[in-house]
């Protein structure tokens, strides 16, 4: 529904208007301290050339050696077209382009080019700086037996990391610019012949629809690419590991890398992707499958345990084994709060502790966890504010939640865990069942780019097994790519 009081906005095209002249470019960057100009008079010329660039965006050595030095030292035709001379070797730069309008010239400047204003036109030379963070080990997706490199903030470095792994000429990289103010380069990557040919086009259309001032976080990309936005579960996989992006590309998915975001984005996503850890393919297939089953089990425990405990302790006491019921009753003696309030309160406290630990510096964060978890927890039990049974239930739910390898998925489970606990406190197992059914129905209704979110579970068959979708199969036996991705070449190997 459109907002009634929302000010009118229309996308301005072109974003920068005016004639492409030296005066207009100076006016455009007026007040920008990093906008630098230089006038240079080639040998035999009466009037100087105007050169401009943005300091910090260009590498000074390149500008001096590849552009200014040849302009200053080499003879340059005066009467004939000097721009053509520059395009054919007058400057020693790799990328020299003739510019026709003000907007493209301004964009080139902010991308790290210098602009040379000649009597017969404007030429830009790419002399961008390559200052960037060095490729380092992934901070959040460590692997003992795998590669140790991770994406950085530089787009070209990131694509090179992929290109070094996938040396096929069929690896296609298509550039898009996103963000009205940031003009962030985003590159769409796929393997021609493996990915569904419609998929890159659909993603490209979605990218073109992004109408944002800026693209500086992953959310700005994800929330435009996926619909409906009401689901809290992640639908695209963001990873800092190039090898994981390569796996996705080889399955027939597409990837996006954006300048300034040290992550690759693989899409379309499905639920099984978010439960696989990077190291799964490095371990023996049986061990990896067992761990995967453990993760699925943990998923249900973290999601349902607090709600189930509330339901049985408040509505269905007869479901609890007698000895356990006796222990729980003994532990609940003198606790002034109802069980439901205890569990929900402790769940919220657990989330607060977790959030506090994340926001603080690592060393202080650990202290907060220890003080919060151990000292306050023990004191709360001793003071009979919460019962030990409830502490155990919430702790088990929290710990099992950490086995989910993808943080966004884990966050979604945390939110639903709280919701299911509230439903269970209202209507017991009935509330829990209805909530779970609603969640299942909701997830079953989610699909991105024609791929159902729950597809490996929605249709259990040989195809899903072969495609390594749910459990890890021996790699030589995984001969097919996932059917739901509608890949151009389904077979991985003979």
């Amino acid at each position: 529904m459109p907002h009634q009081h929302m000010p009118h906005h229309s996308r301005k095209t072109p974003a920068v208007e005016g004639p492409l002249t030296w005066e207009s470019i100076c006016a455009l960057f007026d007040g920008c301290a990093d906008f630098k100009t230089r006038d240079l008079t080639p040998d035999g010329w009466e009037k100087p050339l105007h050169i401009c660039w943005l300091e910090g965006m260009v590498r000074n050595e390149r500008l001096n050696d590849y552009v200014l030095r040849p302009l200053a030292t080499c003879p340059m035709p005066k009467e004939s077209l000097p721009s053509a001379h520059l395009l054919t070797g007058g400057v020693w730069d790799q990328t020299v382009e003739r510019q026709e309008d003000l907007e493209k010239t301004a964009n080139a400047l902010v991308s790290g080019s210098c602009a040379i204003f000649l009597p017969d036109g404007v030429v830009t030379c790419s002399v961008e700086t390559e200052e960037k963070r060095a490729v380092s080990e992934p901070g959040n997706e460590t692997e003992t037996k795998g590669a140790k490199d991770s994406f950085v903030e530089s787009l070209r470095t990131n694509t090179s990391l992929l290109r070094r792994r996938l040396r096929t000429p069929h690896l296609k990289i298509e550039r898009h610019i996103v963000g009205r103010q940031t003009l962030t380069p985003v590159e769409l990557i796929w393997i021609d012949g493996i990915a569904d040919p419609h998929l890159p086009r659909q993603v490209a259309e979605k990218l073109a629809d992004i109408d944002e001032d800026a693209l500086v976080t992953t959310g700005e990309l994800e929330e435009y690419l996926t619909e409906p936005r009401q689901t809290v579960f992640p639908r695209v996989l963001f990873t800092e590991r190039p090898d994981r992006v390569c796996q996705g590309l080889l399955e027939g998915r597409v990837a996006l890398v954006a300048d300034g975001i040290p992550m690759g984005c693989v899409l379309p996503g499905d639920v099984s992707q978010f439960l696989k850890a990077p190291q799964d393919r490095s371990y023996h297939w049986l061990a990896a499958s067992a761990l995967l089953v453990l993760r699925y089990l943990s998923l249900f425990v973290t999601l349902l345990l607090p709600g189930f405990y509330i339901a049985v302790a408040t509505f269905h006491i007869e479901l609890i084994p007698t000895q356990l019921a006796i222990s729980i009753i003994a532990s609940e003696q003198d606790v002034p709060f109802p069980t439901a309030m205890e569990v929900i309160g402790l769940l919220v406290s657990f989330e607060i502790l977790q959030e506090a630990g994340l926001r603080l510096p690592k060393t202080i964060g650990q202290t907060v966890s220890i003080i919060g978890g151990l000292v306050v927890g023990q004191a709360a039990v001793d003071a009979k504010i919460v019962s030990p049974a409830v502490v155990i239930v919430v702790a088990v739910a929290g710990i099992t939640g950490f086995t989910v390898p993808y943080q966004d998925f884990s966050n979604a489970l945390r939110l639903w865990r709280l919701l299911l606990a509230v439903l269970a406190s209202l209507a017991g197992v009935f509330g829990l069942t209805m909530g779970s059914a609603f969640l299942a129905a909701h997830l079953a209704g989610v699909s991105d780019f024609g791929v159902p979110y729950l597809w490996p579970f929605a249709r259990w068959g040989r195809s899903e097994l072969e495609a390594d979708a749910i459990l890890r199969q021996p790699i030589p036996e995984v001969k097919l790519r996932p059917a739901e991705l509608n890949t151009g070449n389904r077979r991985r190997r003979w």
Partner: protein, 404 residues
Amino acid sequence: MVRRRVLALVAGAAALYLIGTWSGDGLLPKAKDIAEVKLMRTMAVDKGEENGLLLTVSGDVQKDSPDSQTRPPMILNQPALTVFGGCTRLQENSEGDPEFGHLAECVVGEEYARRGIEDLADFLERDVSMRMETKLFVVAGDTGEAALRGAASQNSAITDYLTSISKNPGLGGRNPWPYTMREYISQQEDNGVALLPALTLEDNPDFDPSDREKQPEKILKTAGFALFQEQRLTGFLTGEESQGVSLLTGNDVLDAFEITLKSGTVAGIRLIDTKCRYETRFAPDGTLEAVTLRLIVRGDLNQLTGAADPMDEETLREMEQAFCAQIHTVSQAALSRSQRENADFLHLRRELVCRYPLHATGLTEHWDTWFPNVALNVTVEGQIQRSYDIDRPAPEKEVRRGGE
């Protein structure tokens, strides 16, 4: 989207209605926090005034916190016309909130049992929180309430004792095994006869009247089986009869036998396996004339007190013959009682129908008239197979026959 939401709301409302939560009391089920409830573990049902009954329930030993000292179990009682009414009124009138979902045992007094326990069976069968796995016991010569109160002390409740004998029925030697309500109903449905374990109350010699809470005033002991015919208690099976029932129904294969040999040596033998084969004789007109139960038993020699050598062939022969004779005695006692009461609690008819399908119709239709006149015999073949000395294994021998 709107249509889907409306459909979801309608489906949710239908689900609420169908599961019965949409009642006049409110939309959502009624909560009962676990911290508020008092778990009742054992229920006693006794004969009340006129046609009424007296319901008594007992919980576990009470503990205010894991580290606090224990207190005697909470015992509540309530006269009522029905078990259901008694339970409901107990929940309404008690200070705590008695919870009956964890009742593990039900004890009935003899007087009430003689009047008939069909109303109790009916209640346990229908009530949503009760369990068909509830074990039933009959107190011989006393009331269930007396058993609950007598066994209660600071350190014990009747539940502890009943749970103990339920877990180890055979290892006690001659204890009856416990029957659940499900098994009781199943027996009644089969032929109108059922057995339930019987208990007796005896004075506790350690009871100190000055500190009444420390030790229980009474001790519960097993006392064979209570025999129910058409839901009413008609008698008790004790001693050899009880042991025979355990043996013939295969529920007590770990029973212990003590045999005194001619030399004065006493052997302790544990029965470890029983097989029963049925041999029958039918008259030309199809009438059942005789049934012979051929028992093949095996025992372990667990103790030998005296001078006899267990490896001696003659000693073994004597032990096996005595062992078979004892088994014959208890089996014949159970069979005779069954015939005398015209109560087929050994389920002979069911066994014979399975083994002689050609006579199934006759056995089913005429059993009540045939059974009192059938010649019932037992033969026992037994072997004692274990000795103390593993370097001198018992010699290979034929299975001995004895006790016919």
